[in-house]
C-alpha cells in the first residue's frame, strides 16, 4: 500500500470518527432538555424559588455538557490536528 492510499484511508476514517463522536451531542441535548423540564416543573410548584432553581439548573447543565464538549474537542482534533497522520508522514 503506497503512502497516498494510506493517507486517504486514514483521513476518511478520521472524518467518520469525528462524525460518530458527535453522536454524544444527541444524548446531551436530550438530558439537558430533561433538566430544563424538571426545573420548569419545580418553578411551577415553587415560583418564589425561581432564581435559585434557575441557577442550579444552569450549573447542572454545564456539568452535563462536559461530555459533549469533550467529544467536540476530539472531533476537532481528528479533523484539524490529527495525531495519527504524524505516524505516516515521517
Amino acid at each position: 500500500m503506497d503512502e497516498l492510499t494510506a493517507k486517504t484511508i486514514l483521513t476518511s476514517v478520521s472524518a467518520m470518527g469525528a462524525a460518530i463522536v458527535m453522536f454524544s451531542a444527541m444524548a446531551n441535548a436530550i438530558f439537558e432538555g430533561i433538566t430544563a423540564y424538571k426545573a420548569v416543573e419545580a418553578i411551577g410548584r415553587q415560583p418564589e424559588a425561581a432564581g435559585e432553581i434557575t441557577r442550579t439548573m444552569l450549573v447542572g447543565q454545564a456539568v452535563t455538557e462536559t461530555t459533549g464538549i469533550y467529544s467536540f474537542v476530539i472531533a476537532l482534533s481528528l479533523l484539524f490536528a490529527n495525531p495519527l497522520i504524524g505516524f505516516l508522514v515521517k
Binding site: 454545564a62 462536559t66 474537542v73 476537532l76
Partner: protein, 232 residues
C-alpha cells in the same frame, strides 16, 4: 479557512504575536481604564448614590450577592476575584461582536483560567486548614484514594478550560461557516458583493457572542466558586 480555525499570527512592530494575545491585551487595557475611571468617579463618594456611582454600586452589589449566596457569608472576601473573572471572561467572549476572534476560543487562554482556579482552590485550602490540613485533604476519606484525589484535582482545570473553550470555539466555527455559506449564496445569484452577509448573521452573533458568552462566563465563575468552596 486555510489552516483550520486557529488564531492568526499578526505582525506588531516586527514581532509575530497571535491574535489571542493582542485582543486580550486590548481588553485588559480597556478594563483597566474603566477601573481607573470608576476609581476617579468614586473619589467623591456620596452616601446617597447618583449618576455613575449608581451603576458601579449595582455591579458590585450583584457580584457580592452572587458570591455570598453561593459560597456563604464567611467567604465574602472572594467577591473581588469572582467579579474580576466574571467581567473579564464576559468581555473576552463578546469581543466576537466587534469582529475579533474571541481569545477564549484559544485553548491556552481557557486552560490558563483553569489553572488560576486551581491555584485559588489550593490557596484557599491552605489559608483555611493550614498546610498539613491541605495535605491531609488528599488522604480523605481513606488513604487508598490518594491517586483518585490527585487525578480529580488535575481534571478540574482541564474540564473548566475545555468547557469554555469548546463552547466559544463552537460559536466561532458556526459563525465562520455561516459567513462562508452566505458569501457563496450571494456569489451564486451573481452579485460580487457578499450582500447576504449584511443582516442575516446578526442572530448568530446575538446567540453565540452575547447570550452564550455571558452565560458561559457566569457558569465558569459559578463552577469556580463551587470548586473553591468544596476545596476548603
Amino acid at each position: 479557512m486555510d489552516g483550520g480555525f486557529g488564531a492568526r499570527l499578526i505582525d506588531v512592530a516586527g514581532f509575530q504575536i497571535s491574535e489571542t494575545i493582542l485582543v486580550t491585551w486590548i481588553v485588559m487595557a480597556v478594563l483597566i481604564a474603566l477601573a481607573i475611571a470608576a476609581r476617579i468617579v468614586l473619589r467623591k463618594f456620596e452616601a446617597v448614590p447618583r449618576g455613575a456611582q449608581n451603576v458601579i454600586e449595582t455591579i458590585v452589589e450583584l457580584i457580592t450577592n452572587l458570591t455570598t449566596s453561593t459560597m456563604g457569608e464567611e467567604n465574602k472576601g472572594h467577591a473581588p476575584f469572582v467579579g474580576t473573572m466574571l467581567i473579564f471572561i464576559a468581555v473576552l467572549n463578546i469581543t466576537g461582536l466587534f469582529g475579533f476572534r474571541p481569545p477564549t476560543a484559544d485553548v491556552n487562554t481557557t486552560l490558563g483560567f483553569g489553572i488560576v482556579t486551581l491555584i485559588m482552590m489550593y490557596g484557599s485550602s491552605i489559608m483555611r486548614n493550614g498546610f498539613m490540613g491541605y495535605v491531609k485533604g488528599f488522604l480523605e476519606p481513606i488513604p487508598i484514594l490518594l491517586p483518585v484525589n490527585i487525578i480529580g484535582d488535575l481534571a478540574t482545570p482541564i474540564s473548566l478550560g475545555f468547557r469554555l473553550f469548546g463552547n466559544v470555539l463552537g460559536g466561532v466555527i458556526i459563525g465562520s461557516l455561516l459567513y462562508g455559506a452566505l458569501g457563496a449564496a450571494s456569489n451564486a445569484i451573481g452579485i460580487s458583493i457578499p450582500i447576504f452577509q449584511a443582516v442575516i448573521p446578526v442572530f448568530a452573533h446575538v446567540y453565540f457572542d452575547l447570550f452564550s458568552g455571558c452565560l458561559q462566563s457566569f457558569i465558569f465563575v459559578m463552577l469556580t466558586m463551587i470548586f473553591i468552596t468544596n476545596a476548603m
